[in-house]
């Protein structure tokens, strides 16, 4: 397969990847994750073989960077008593509290829901990113939505 110029990936999928990461790790960490995702992709790009779905490939890298960010965040000291005020995140998520609830979901459900609704992937594509079957991807989205709904209603 011919690989398109990397600039084309950046133009066509860069903002999707960013939207996915913003939903996945929050707007504050999304920028760093996006940089790391794109740098990793560019490093590996010439060696890529048999890759027909470049968007899925980028989102898979983004998912790994999101996991790295979560691990790093869990090691960060947690401030107590006084919660520092953060600047308002960019208004790209219609409902930040809802996405906050999505980020509380267990790993695969969190990734699946985010891929479905922030990156607009179908279930087969979600399966390729989180490495499970199409049915399992659908199941993860359904289960994730159910617990978000429970949290939300409460």
């Amino acid at each position: 397969m011919k690989l398109p110029p990397f600039q084309m990936l950046l133009d066509e999928h860069g903002s999707d990847v960013h939207r996915y990461l913003a939903a996945r790790v929050g707007p504050v960490d999304a920028d760093d994750c996006w940089q790391e995702t794109m740098l990793s992709a560019l490093r590996a790009y010439p060696g890529l073989r048999h890759q027909t779905n470049l968007r899925g490939w980028l989102l898979r890298i983004a998912e790994r960077k999101a996991l790295d960010a979560h691990r790093a965040a869990s090691r960060r000291p947690v401030p107590v008593e006084v919660v520092p005020e953060r600047p308002a995140p960019p208004a790209e998520r219609p409902d930040p509290a809802l996405w906050q609830a999505v980020r509380q979901l267990p790993g695969k459900q969190r990734a699946a829901v985010t891929l479905r609704f922030a990156a607009d992937l179908d279930y087969a594509a979600i399966g390729r990113v989180i490495e499970c079957s199409e049915d399992a991807a659908r199941q993860n989205v359904r289960a994730g939505l159910a617990s978000v709904r429970r949290e939300w209603v409460r």
Binding site: K2, P4, W34, L39, L42, P46
Partner: protein, 184 residues
């Protein structure tokens, strides 16, 4: 999504194998591409940019990114040339898109000084194969770096213009420029 920061970091890591950007000219918008070795491609406005970039991805490296800053020297030299203030380019040529006799013919063309012309037959001879006139013509017609590798300085025997990738008006304009006629 901070694309500029990404390009900066990619650059610092040496991950951009082909950098390209637009360059304005008196005859429209050109696209120039450089590698670490020099200028590898210059495309006229009429050429389809997606095809030009895909060819670079296929034949040089898919790590192709738009980096206007990497083209600053090329842009400045071309500006000076178009304004009649420069008659040789300092940016080296990356010859990797040229092979065999085409490479020899283009190197012979590269040696034609500003303001001089050769015929296709003379170019073939200069490239070491006096009978390969038609191949010399093809090497010029498919020159990946026109202007810098001055294929406009190659004419038909008898002085007819022959052909030009950027159109005969551009060839005429460049020859006039080098004769000193077109400057106001």
């Amino acid at each position: 999504m901070n694309t500029a920061e990404f390009v900066k970091r990619a650059q610092a890591e040496g991950l951009i194998d082909v950098a390209y950007a637009g360059v304005d000219s008196p005859f429209g918008h050109l696209t120039a591409a450089v590698t670490g070795a020099g200028i590898v491609r210059l495309a006229f406005e009429g050429e389809e940019i997606d095809g030009v970039l895909q060819e670079l991805a296929d034949r040089v490296s898919p790590r192709v990114l738009e980096v206007p800053a990497r083209l600053d020297d090329v842009r400045r030299e071309l500006d000076e040339y178009f304004e009649g203030r420069r008659n040789a380019f300092e940016t080296p040529v990356d010859w990797q898109l040229s092979h065999g006799f085409h490479l020899k013919a283009r190197e012979a063309c590269y040696a034609i000084p500003f303001g001089s012309v050769l015929t296709y037959a003379e170019l073939a001879a200069a490239a070491g194969s006096p009978r390969a006139v038609r191949a010399a013509g093809q090497a010029m017609a498919r020159n990946p770096v026109p202007i810098v590798v001055p294929c406009h300085r190659v004419l038909r025997t008898g002085g007819a213009l022959g052909g030009y990738g950027g159109g005969l008006d551009v060839k005429r304009w460049l020859l006039d420029l080098e004769r000193g006629d077109s400057l106001f």
